[in-house]
């Protein structure tokens, strides 16, 4: 993992060695006059768990939303697994991606939302099988088998026939994790997944994520205010402020010996 927000290097390295799973290059995102991401460059290597920390409005969540193509960058390029996400190559030129192209690249990415966003009109089982059946084309029984395994992983086997409204927030969020994993993504994006939960439900969700982080080789990109969780699972921590990465490093380094004054301020406020 490396960060570089200084200059735009002339890198035309077509050699995708398979280790850089996510690559942000000179990405700028504005909402009106508000610059949310400012010429951001960073990479995430395959299998790494990277946590984004920083004050509200520093652009962390925007990164996840860019990767999900829920918002589009004004400038720069994003690559996932070697493919351009927001652009595609046509006649040797880089043009904005078609919805079809984005969808193909996006299949590598799963996302878990702060507000769970389960489908309230479907039972737990169908919440999980819907996309594998209708996007990946999996046979129904295979998708259901996969769903049962994932429900076991998140500890909700007995709730398979319930509707989301019959579950607690923590249980809903664990179903949402299972739903994202059912697509077998290479990358899992976690957007403040415990922020909407009652305090006593947070631990159950974090335990599940810890388990996944330690037993699978899935790449994780995680926005969180749970610093202990970040310390536990992260290979790298990126500290954001005003749309830039101001500091990055191992969790030990960032949490115990941060270099940047802004990082120290932030950590003393949240820890």
């Amino acid at each position: 993992m490396s960060t570089d927000s200084s200059t735009s290097k002339e890198t035309r390295n077509p050699a995708v060695d398979g280790t850089e799973l996510i690559e942000f290059k000179d990405v700028t995102k504005r909402f009106g006059n508000n610059v949310v991401l400012d010429n951001l460059c960073f990479n995430v290597d395959s299998g790494k768990h990277v946590t984004l920390i920083g004050p509200s409005g520093s652009g962390k969540t925007t990164i996840l939303r860019l990767l999900m193509t829920l918002v589009k960058p004004e400038e720069g390029t994003i690559k996932v697994a070697g493919d351009y996400l927001t652009h595609e190559q046509r006649d040797g030129k880089l043009v904005p991606a078609s919805e079809r192209h984005s969808r193909e690249v996006r299949k590598n990415i799963g996302m878990v939302f702060q507000q769970f966003n389960l489908f309230p009109n479907m039972r737990v089982l169908r919440n999980i099988t819907e996309a594998p059946v209708h996007v990946l084309g999996l046979p129904k029984d295979e998708a259901e088998q996969r769903a049962r395994e994932l429900l076991e992983l998140v500890g909700l086997t007995e709730h398979i026939d319930k509707y989301p409204s019959q579950l607690s927030g923590g249980q809903q969020q664990r179903v949402a994790i299972a739903r994202a994993l059912a697509m077998r993504p290479q990358v899992l994006l976690l957007d403040e997944v415990t922020s909407a939960l009652d305090p006593e439900l947070v631990a159950g969700v974090l335990d599940v994520l810890r388990d996944i982080a330690h037993t699978t080789d899935i790449t994780m990109l995680c926005v969180t205010h749970e610093m202990n969780f970040a310390r536990d699972i992260s290979d790298d921590v990126l500290m954001f402020d005003a749309g830039r990465v101001i500091e990055s490093g191992s969790p030990e380094k960032i949490f115990s010996d941060p270099e940047h004054e802004r990082t120290r301020e932030f950590l003393s406020a949240v820890l």
Binding site: G110, Q115, E130, V135, M183
Partner: protein
């Protein structure tokens, strides 16, 4: 004024014909209004201006002109271009088309009421557009709007006597014809008033039951 039971029994066969026409117009008109309204609502959300704009203009136009004028147009003006329908078919199309512009607004509100997070979850799972609509958005949107749609069915029932003006003999048409022939307006008009209540009230009870089942 005298109430004449024999006039009531004389009116019965025609009443049945009239009830049949009213119910046909109501059921078929509702189906058109429900289906077409959904098409309008989805077309208005289209990113393509060439679709959303004309649809908006057409629906605003239809909603803001009287049903009676539209019925006259369909029945008396369209034949000028050699488009001819029977009175009942014209009535069904007129009612359905007119009310589709109201149901479109109802659907629109229902679709807007689906949280944005549902769309985002569909994107995150790469669900295709058609699947997003059919499996996620519409089931949630329609659930919310069933009561409002039901109200328009009742309103359509109450507008159905307008079909009389183009010669579709629904209940009021039958009553008027009967009283013109017998000079006894009291009995047929009273009877059809009662029949309207007998249709409308159970229909609204049914809608309320549906609402309880769907909205939870």
């Amino acid at each position: 004024m005298k109430w004449d039971w024999s006039a009531v029994s004389d009116f019965m066969p025609r009443l049945l014909d009239g009830v049949l026409v009213t119910l046909q117009a109501l059921v078929l008109g509702s189906l058109i209004a429900f289906a077409l309204g959904l098409v309008w609502a989805m077309a208005q959300r289209s990113n393509l201006k060439v679709i959303s704009w004309p649809v908006m203009v057409i629906t605003e136009f239809i909603r803001n002109t009287p049903l009676l004028v539209q019925l006259f147009f369909l029945y008396y003006v369209l034949p000028e271009w050699n488009v001819t329908f029977s009175a009942l078919v014209t009535g069904v199309i007129g009612l359905g088309l007119h009310y589709s512009t109201y149901t479109a607004e109802v659907y629109r509100a229902g679709i807007d009421g689906v949280p944005v997070g549902q769309w985002e979850a569909c994107t995150a799972l790469s669900l295709p557009r058609t699947r997003t609509w059919s499996a996620v958005i519409l089931p949630q949107a329609i659930r919310r709007v069933v009561p409002a749609l039901g109200n328009y069915v009742i309103a359509m029932l109450k507008d159905s006597p307008m079909l009389m003006t183009i010669g579709a003999l629904e209940m009021l048409g039958q009553a008027r014809q009967f009283s013109a022939e017998t000079f006894q307006p009291t009995e047929p008009v009273t009877v059809i008033g009662i029949v309207f209540i007998l249709i409308a009230y159970p229909a609204s009870l049914l809608m309320r039951a549906l609402e309880r089942r769907l909205v939870h």
